[in-house]
Symmetry: C2
Subunit: 199 residues, 2 copies
C-alpha cells in the first residue's frame, strides 16, 4: 500500500480529533501514517485563506462540530480551547525536532491534550514545556534546539513541500499525490490508498 | 422524529451532491427532509466569509473533492462546472416559488443537472428556463413571478431565518436547532434527529 502522509499543524483545531484518534484508527485498519508537521499559517497567509478570524458564527459552529465529533469518537475535551494559539511556528518546530528523534507523535498528542483538555494554549512555553516533560524530554534544551536555524529551515522546507503538494489547510492526508483535507476525510484517504478511489 | 430542514442555495457547489443523492438517501433511511432555498451569498457577504474567491488552490481542491465524492455516490458530473454563478438570487427565488407550488425539488434537481452535467451556468436565463421546462413550468411566466416583490421578500425572510439559526454556508441541515454544515454531515444530522447525538 502507498504511504499515507499526515500533514498537520499544531494550532489547527480539527487536528485535535485526528492526532487523538489516529493511533486506534491505524491499528483498526492495519495502516501506518507518516506524521509531518508544517506551518499552515504561512500557507493560509500566502493564499489569503483565513477560515475563522473575524467569523464568529463559523467559529462557534466549528467548536460545536468538534464537540459532537469528539463525543462520537469517545474523546474527552473541554471546549472551546484557547484559540488561536500564539507561537504556532515554535510548537511545530518542536514537533518536527521530535519527529527526527522519535518522540514527535507522543509530544504532539500530549500537547493537544494539554491544549484541548487542560485549557493551556498550545503555543505557550508552559504548554510546550509540559508536553516535553510528559515525553521525557528536557524542556529548556529542546525549546532551544527547536529555535535553531536548522529546525527553523526544516519546518520551512516541509511547509514548502506541503504547498507544492497542494496542501492548503490542516489536517491533510496525502496519498500518491492526492490531497484529502480534514479529519472527516481520513476514510477517503485510506480508501484511496487501498483501491485508488473513494468508496 | 423531528423535522430535518435542508437549507441550500443554488450556486453552492457541494449542494450538487446533496440535491442529487438526497432522494435515494431519504428512501434508504425512511426520512423526509424539508427543502429550504435561501441566499447564502447575502450571509457570506455579511460575515466576511468568502470560501473560494481568490483562492485557486482551495478551489482546485474543491472540484477534485466533489469529483471523488460524486464517483463514490455514482453521480455523473462534468467538472469543473461554471463558477461562480451570475444571478444567484434569481435562481433561488425560482426555487422558492417552486417550493410553494410543489415543483421546487424537481426544478432544483433539473437545474443542478443542467449546471453540473451540461455545463450551463445555473444563474443564466437559459439554464433557468430549461430547468423550468423540464418540470412542466412556463419559463417566462415563472421567471417574472420569481422576480416579484413577494418572492424577493420571501427569499430574504428565509435568508434571515437561516441566519438566525446560525447557518453560514450551504448546504446545511438543521435539526432541533442544531446546525450541520456540508454534504458530508448528512449522516450526522440524521443521527442527531434519531438519537440526539452523532454516532
Amino acid at each position: 500500500m502507498p504511504e499515507i502522509d499526515f500533514w498537520y499543524s499544531i494550532g489547527s483545531t480539527y487536528t485535535f480529533l485526528t492526532v487523538t484518534r489516529l493511533p486506534d484508527w491505524c491499528a483498526e485498519y492495519d495502516v501506518t501514517v507518516r506524521w509531518r508537521p508544517f506551518n499552515v499559517r504561512t500557507i493560509m497567509s500566502e493564499q489569503n485563506n483565513s477560515p475563522f478570524a473575524g467569523k464568529p458564527t463559523k467559529t462557534r459552529y466549528m467548536w460545536r462540530d468538534i464537540e459532537r465529533r469528539a463525543a462520537k469518537y469517545g474523546i474527552h475535551a473541554k471546549l472551546p480551547a484557547p484559540y488561536p494559539i500564539s507561537d504556532l511556528p515554535l510548537a511545530n518546530q518542536v514537533a518536527l525536532l521530535g519527529m527526527q528523534e522519535g518522540w514527535g507523535e507522543d509530544f504532539t498528542q500530549n500537547l493537544y491534550r494539554i491544549w484541548f483538555d487542560e485549557g493551556i494554549e498550545a503555543g505557550s512555553e508552559s504548554a510546550l514545556s509540559e508536553a516535553l516533560l510528559r515525553c521525557q524530554q528536557d524542556p529548556r534544551l529542546n525549546l532551544s534546539r527547536a529555535r535553531s536555524p536548522e529546525i527553523v529551515a526544516a519546518l520551512a522546507a516541509e511547509t514548502d513541500q506541503a504547498t507544492k503538494l497542494g496542501v492548503f489547510g490542516a489536517p491533510s492526508l496525502v496519498v500518491r499525490g492526492e490531497v484529502f483535507w480534514g479529519d472527516d476525510r481520513l476514510d477517503d484517504a485510506l480508501s484511496w490508498a487501498r483501491v485508488g478511489h473513494v468508496v
